[in-house]
């Protein structure tokens, strides 16, 4: 789960990390009021609040003649409303938003902070160790994935001890890497340990501060902030769950999430309902090998009642790309008869307007087959993944 920059900064501030003074605004007039309140003379930073990176180098739809991004420095208060108005209710396209872009509904107004140095700090979990791993880079304002790809030597990676503060020698390594002397030791230690506590206490999967500023007094300040949380741990953090911005999420993904399922969309036209990530991947691989592409994949693993399975099937049916549905279930925990009941419930409610091929294997598969056969629905049965996809493609061609 992601949150906005201003929310991430509120959280960091609660953990004692220094962030610039700022306030959120939904209208241009409000932006001006916030600006005057936080810093009477300025300058100010205006930052579009969308959950995607590369905002600075992005541009707004319909404003390609004077391309200006989603992060702007404003020096005169008289320009502030104008600049905010250019962002609000307009669509920002960045390298990470995709071609559709994202609608900006709020801007964050911050007091501009002058700093001596800038660097990148991130925290992730390296699953191969496994350990919380601190990332430090002297390349700022760029996508860390790009740096990792082409300039790997510019990222310092330090696995952290599970139950101890960051070690002295690691702080030294960081200072050496950034070519800073030991006078900066205290500021780094304080900042990075607070970041580590935030990461652990809030079940974060990734925190990125891009960039961190080093102030004249050698204290560190988070000039940007991005936090991604572990969905599975949100039961421990109802306050963070409330920060989720529904407008940022795809409505079908959100709906699937509410049923406890994982759902992803692609650019083809076959809807896949499977139980298990691996099974989804394999189905998509086979579909591709036959010259087609998946429209979406819904993983109903762990779904144990027919109503939830039915909601899953209805969800797939609401995707306009879907012209055929593959239901490939290998039941262990999930019993096939529940899937059959779910298919019946869903088709009775929304009807059957595209071909469905069903392959059920494993726990209670015979019961399931009887349920579906007795319902006399135009469902096609298959024996394995290959067979199922062949039959579905053939049926979709007939429907054309």
């Amino acid at each position: 789960m992601n949150i906005h920059e201003y929310q991430a900064k509120q959280i960091l501030a609660q953990y004692g990390i220094i962030v610039p003074n700022g306030g959120i605004a939904y209208t241009a007039a409000e932006a001006k009021r916030v600006a005057q309140h936080i810093s009477p003379r300025g300058p100010w930073m205006l930052k579009a609040q969308i959950q995607a990176g590369a905002r600075h180098s992005g541009h707004f739809v319909g404003n390609s003649t004077a391309p200006k991004g989603g992060i702007r420095l404003v020096t005169q208060i008289r320009n502030l409303s104008y600049e905010a108005a250019q962002m609000l209710n307009n669509t920002l396209i960045t390298e990470q938003t995709g071609p559709k872009g994202k609608l900006v509904s709020k801007v964050y107004v911050e007091a501009y902070k002058q700093v001596k140095h800038l660097f990148y700090a991130g925290m992730i979990i390296d699953s191969s160790l496994p350990a919380i791993t601190l990332l430090i880079s002297d390349v700022i304002d760029q996508d860390i994935l790009k740096i990792a790809d082409i300039r790997r030597e510019r990222i310092l990676r330090l696995p952290l001890a599970y139950d101890k503060p960051i070690a002295d020698e690691q702080i030294k390594q960081i200072l050496d890497f950034l070519l800073l002397d030991k006078n900066y030791d205290e500021g780094f230690r304080d900042f990075l340990n607070k970041l580590r506590i935030t990461f652990i206490n809030l079940d974060a999967q990734m925190i990125e501060i891009n960039p961190v500023g080093i102030m004249r007094n050698k204290k560190l300040i988070a000039l940007d902030a991005k936090i991604n949380f572990d969905d599975n741990a949100m039961f421990r953090h109802p306050d963070i769950l409330r920060m989720q911005d529904d407008y940022e999420e795809d409505p079908r993904c959100l709906q699937a999430q509410r049923h406890g399922f994982h759902y992803s969309e692609f650019d083809g036209n076959i809807g896949c309902i499977v139980n298990g990530d691996g099974l989804a991947l394999e189905a998509m691989d086979v579909i591709k090998s036959k010259g087609m592409r998946a429209a979406c994949a819904l993983n109903v693993k762990g779904g144990v009642d027919k109503d939830r399975i039915a909601s899953g099937i209805k969800l797939i049916m609401t995707n306009p790309r879907v012209e055929g549905v593959l239901i490939n279930i290998l039941g262990g925990f999930l019993r096939c008869n529940l899937v059959a009941d779910g298919i019946l419930a869903a088709t009775q409610e929304v009807g059957l307007n595209v071909p469905i091929v069903v392959r059920l294997e494993g726990t209670n598969k015979e019961e399931a087959r009887i349920i579906l056969q007795e319902a006399k629905l135009p469902i096609i049965f298959a024996d394995n993944t290959n067979d199922a996809i062949d039959k579905l493609i053939a049926e979709m061609e007939v429907n054309d």
Binding site: I124, S127, I200, A233, I287, L330, F333, E361
Partner: protein
């Protein structure tokens, strides 16, 4: 022989009275599994599915010898269930639960380190030695006894692997699901060592996924092994747009950009027989002429 569990393995079920546990434990017992006891927080009834029920693992261990535990507990309780089992020095634990927070797994991995306990899972169908021991939720009706081991990181795709082995006219020695999650209790390497030492196992089928670097780690391990048995390996996810799944960002940052083709290449170089489709596994096994 088999690995990890056979008909002599004395199995405890943590959370035995739950709805899902009841369904699957009964099937396991019917399938020959030596289930000897259960635990339940409510502690009632005293007996369930024909075995005694205790309030906690320590109490169960005090009353009878236990070799392994299967956990049917909610995601938020997994770390406490593991701690109980580790403190009672149970050698093998299997966690079925999906949705365990990743930070809990970091805590669990720290608990397991230096302990006497090996953990399979979480988010796994468990492990099965056909006809002898079913520690988990595998659909037992598809399994056949035989000489092929399976190690899989893709829960339900494991069942496809089983069907492929059957199609080759062979059966399974032991099938182990490592778990689908980003961090799992045990990775391929330990299992590979066990299978290579098992008399009954003549070859291993490995089923991997595009994310994380577990397969690369396995390949490195396999390349270094003496006494190798053939490994037929499959990795799901080649059609996935790069970076489309979770976990990728972490992988790229920590280990550099690698595509599924790179992953398969490393595996092939280690001596594994890498197939492109699940449905090619039975042919690859037939080519080994194990019968």
């Amino acid at each position: 022989m088999s690995v990890l569990a056979d008909k002599h393995t004395r199995v405890l079920v943590q959370g035995i009275t739950g709805v899902q546990a009841s369904f699957h434990v009964k099937r396991s017992i019917d399938n020959g599994t030596n289930v000897v006891a259960g635990t339940s927080l409510q502690r009632t009834p005293n007996e369930y599915l024909g075995v005694p029920v205790f309030g906690n693992v320590a109490e169960a261990v005090k009353n009878m010898p236990i070799d392994a535990s299967v956990m049917f507990v909610p995601a938020k309780a997994v770390k406490y269930a593991v701690r109980e089992a580790v403190e009672s020095e149970i050698k093998l634990i299997v966690s079925i639960t999906q949705g365990v927070p990743v930070h809990d797994m970091l805590e669990i991995k720290a608990m397991l380190k230096g302990s006497k306990t090996m953990m399979i899972g979480p988010n796994t169908p468990g492990l099965i030695t056909p006809g002898e021991a079913r520690l988990g939720i595998f659909p037992e009706n598809i399994h056949r006894k035989g000489c092929i081991g399976i190690i899989s990181r893709a829960s339900t795709l494991t069942y496809e692997g089983v069907l492929e082995i059957n199609e080759a006219g062979l059966g399974q020695s032991t099938v182990v699901g490592l778990g689908d999650d980003m961090i799992v209790g045990t990775d391929y390497r330990e299992l590979m060592t066990l299978f290579m030492a098992d008399d009954e196992t003549k070859a291993v089928v490995m089923i991997g996924k595009a994310d994380n670097v577990y397969e690369q780690m396995a390949a490195e391990h396999y390349a270094m092994m003496e006494n190798k048995k053939p490994v037929v390996a499959f990795v799901a996810g080649e059609s996935l747009p790069f970076g489309a799944t979770m976990g990728y960002a972490e992988d790229i940052i920590t280990h550099g950009l690698s595509t599924i083709q790179d992953k398969k290449k490393v595996m092939a170089q280690s001596g594994m027989i890498v197939v492109d489709r699940m449905s090619q596994i039975h042919e690859a096994l037939a080519d080994l002429q194990l019968k």
